[in-house]
């Protein structure tokens, strides 16, 4: 009889034709209904104007992530550049020293979902390291975690400084100093290169490594280079954000349960990123998604210029609204909402699956605050 129950489902269409079928309706008894609360019991508190958008027809994570426990705030991660400690270096150059510690830490990647992460300096993604083309970079890396780790930089450096098994791999409780010159300029990344590689990366050991162009080295495009160089007046006019597209396999079945930019699912849906519409915007976009070969970025109601790997001062793609990035691919996105009316403009991966599992957000385009 049970066999009948099972096989009947495959013939449902046929069976439905016969006999007495039921009326659609509600079974009211013993049902939880009404106000939507998060499962921990506290009522959701989203800013009212966002409510309609953020609700997204119900397609959203429920509740809030405790950023103070995580130790990093998604809205701050967007632009908290770490320039290290600067000091003079030979030939008029600058030495930038960074201290990074690998540590095990449980982080909340979506409301209520805890992930046993491996982190650089207690955050995922790790600190956004930002230097200038030609700087001497020194990374003092110590491993306070439970497994062996490295820091492997995408950049130009010697074999000894590569941060792979056999060159700069650091056992728990030990340390290593990576040192190299910052070349080429662009939007890069660093990540752990210990084996097994997939696990060391998807557990959270990665971060953005941005090398700003030095205008003096690009006399013909020095104005363009200056807009990219942190600290110049030209750069101050821009609104810059780093977005590390990442994902989490919470049950370790080699498929991701959560997708995001900068770790927390739907973080910028719950709290849209404010943009002054008169000023241009620039995104340093890095893809460190594991298990899925590609990720993407799509901007709503607008088009942008794209600089693949950020290693050129003229765009590699002009006037596009979607770019596709393979694992470890990255680039710079430049756009403006100057001609748009204020409002919420969405951005997300255009793999609908990723978007619906957390990788989406809004720009809150506003007039400049007086």
């Amino acid at each position: 009889m049970q066999n009948w129950l099972r096989s009947a489902t495959s013939r449902r269409g046929l069976l439905r034709l016969g006999g007495l079928s039921f009326v659609a309706g509600a079974l009211g008894a013993a049902r939880a209904q009404g106000v939507v609360k998060d499962p921990q019991g506290s009522a959701s508190t989203y800013p009212t104007p966002i409510q309609v958008h953020a609700d997204h027809g119900g397609m959203i994570t429920v509740g809030q992530v405790d950023s103070s426990r995580n130790g990093f705030e998604p809205s701050k991660v967007l632009s908290d550049w770490d320039q290290g400690v600067a000091s003079p270096w030979a030939g008029g150059r600058t030495l930038r020293e960074f201290v990074i510690t690998a540590e095990d830490k449980e982080i909340e990647i979506a409301p209520g979902i805890m992930f046993p992460a491996w982190t650089y300096s207690g955050r995922v993604p790790g600190p956004t390291l930002r230097v200038t083309e030609g700087d001497r970079v020194r990374i003092i890396f110590s491993n306070a975690g439970s497994h062996i780790h490295t820091m492997h930089f995408h950049g130009i450096h010697s074999a000894r400084m590569d941060g792979v098994p056999g060159a700069g791999e650091v056992r728990p409780g030990e340390n290593f100093v990576y040192e190299f010159d910052a070349f080429p300029f662009g939007c890069h990344l660093y990540h752990c290169h210990s084996a097994p590689l997939k696990r060391h990366i998807h557990k959270g050991l990665y971060g953005a490594f941005i090398v700003d162009p030095d205008p003096a080295r690009h006399p013909e495009q020095s104005e363009l280079a200056a807009t990219r160089l942190l600290g110049t007046p030209q750069n101050a006019h821009w609104q810059e954000f780093v977005m590390v597209m990442n994902s989490f396999d919470t049950n370790f079945d080699e498929e991701n349960e959560v997708y995001a930019v900068n770790t927390v699912a739907h973080a910028y849906t719950h709290r849209p990123i404010p943009i002054e519409r008169e000023r241009p915007a620039r995104i340093y976009l890095v893809n460190v998604t594991e298990f899925d070969p590609i990720n993407s970025f799509h901007l709503h109601a607008n088009f942008f210029d794209y600089y693949d790997t950020g290693t050129s001062l003229s765009p590699t793609l002009k006037t596009v609204d979607t770019v596709m990035l393979c694992q470890a691919q990255r680039g710079i996105i430049e756009f403006t909402y100057n001609d748009h009316e204020p409002g919420l403009y969405m951005f997300h991966a255009h793999q609908s699956e990723f978007a619906e599992l957390g990788w989406m957000g809004f720009f809150d385009v506003r007039d400049a605050v007086a």
Binding site: F22, A32, V35
Partner: protein, 385 residues
């Protein structure tokens, strides 16, 4: 007396002290290196689909409590409400309601993501509106129950005059046929009970409970029947068979009602008539012990109700309040009752043959057995589809 109390309370006190001491000192904590993460378990016990979305009753299991952090429906995080909210203690239940625009006739997958990132998947094979609790639904389920339980048994009893005129050979044949029928039902009921128990929350250990309940109910019924040392009268035996078949029909009704309610099948005329044909043999089985008596119509009607009406109750419960562990228990109870009457019929049959069996007895009995099982199997194909 007080000595007896000390003798009984002593071991309990010792056990209590041992547990208290163990928790106070935790001697195994160090060698095994702290606590591993808790094992979690989550089982969906009921599904309700209506215009406000999907509602699921879930039961927690495993070694600790389970906190549902997020829920994906068809690979998208979806807003949901949990009642009661918070972490679910072991074996407790909660209702989850998700305002999801489900699509009639299609499959939906629900993925619970717990606090630790563990996931539990639940598939709604065919989304179909859950029937409303109203007089119309009750009426239709009742009618279906009559077709499934009452009607076939009444029809089976119409063979009574024919069997009665056949003399002692017909009597032996009918008893053997009943034995075959009951053997079939025993295996069928027990395997269904175990199959349903598999789908119940693992923490309840329903599979084990099926065996225990089947064995105990069988023994209990045996004890009740032989309380006064005489065993059954022929009417008592008929009533026992009717009762056993009734409990079996209750389980059958539960499973069928739940299949209808969850959209796994529609209450099609063809299906119901299939069940009617399948269950006709049950009517023959019930009246077989009465062939040497003259039961009144009232008695026969009573037997029909005893065996058939539980199917109606089963359909109601199955459609409106189905949970796997209760269905498994009902079927286990049925299996126990069937086991008991199977033995009774076997004994009666041996008594019929007597000490000096004749050569014609065995073909008749073997024939009856084979025909009984074969009829059940072949008519079972009608409802197997």
């Amino acid at each position: 007396m007080s000595r007896a109390i000390v003798q009984i309370a002593g071991p309990f006190a010792a056990l209590f002290l041992l547990i208290a001491a163990f928790f106070a000192y935790e001697p195994l904590r160090k060698p095994f290196g702290g606590e591993p993460p808790p094992m979690e378990e989550l089982t969906v016990e009921r599904t309700v689909l209506d215009e406000s979305g999907i509602a699921l009753q879930v039961r927690a299991g495993g070694t600790g409590s389970v906190s549902i952090a997020q829920i994906q429906v068809d690979g998208a995080y979806w807003r949901f409400a949990q009642d009661p909210p918070g972490a679910l203690p072991r074996l407790s239940v909660a209702w989850i309601s998700i305002p999801y625009p489900w699509v009639e006739g299609e499959t939906h997958k629900i993925l619970f993501v717990t606090r630790t990132g563990i996931t539990f998947e639940h598939e709604i094979e065919v989304a179909w509106p859950t029937p409303r609790v109203d007089t119309q639904s009750f009426g239709r389920l009742t009618l279906a129950g009559l077709f499934l339980g009452v009607l076939p048994i009444a029809l089976g009893m119409l063979f009574y005059p024919a069997l009665k005129s056949g003399g002692s050979i017909a009597f032996q044949f009918a008893l053997a046929l009943t034995l075959g029928l009951l053997a079939f039902l025993l295996v069928d009921t027990l395997s269904n009970a175990l199959e349903i128990a598999e789908k119940a929350a693992p923490g309840l250990k329903s599979g084990l409970l099926v065996w225990i309940v089947a064995a105990l109910s069988s023994l209990l019924l045996w004890g009740l029947a032989h309380w006064r040392g005489e065993g059954f009268t022929s009417l008592g035996l008929a009533a026992s068979i009717a009762f056993a078949i009734g409990v079996h029909n209750l389980g059958e009704g539960l499973a069928v009602g739940s299949a209808f309610a969850t959209g796994a099948a529609a209450l099609g005329g063809f299906l119901l008539l299939g069940f009617t044909v399948h269950n006709v043999t049950e009517g023959i089985g019930i009246v077989a012990p009465l062939l040497k008596r003259k039961p009144s119509l009232l008695v026969l009607a009573g037997l029909v109700c005893l065996a058939g009406l539980p199917a109606v109750l089963g359909l109601w419960l199955g459609a409106f309040a189905f949970t796997n562990h209760w269905a498994a228990l009902a079927l286990a109870l049925g299996a126990g009752a069937i086991l008991q009457v199977t033995i009774e019929i076997g004994l009666l049959l041996r008594q019929q043959i007597g000490p000096k069996s004749q050569s014609r007895d065995y073909p008749v009995i073997l024939g009856g057995l084979i025909v009984g099982v074969a009829i059940m199997y072949l008519t079972g194909l009608l409802v197997e589809i």
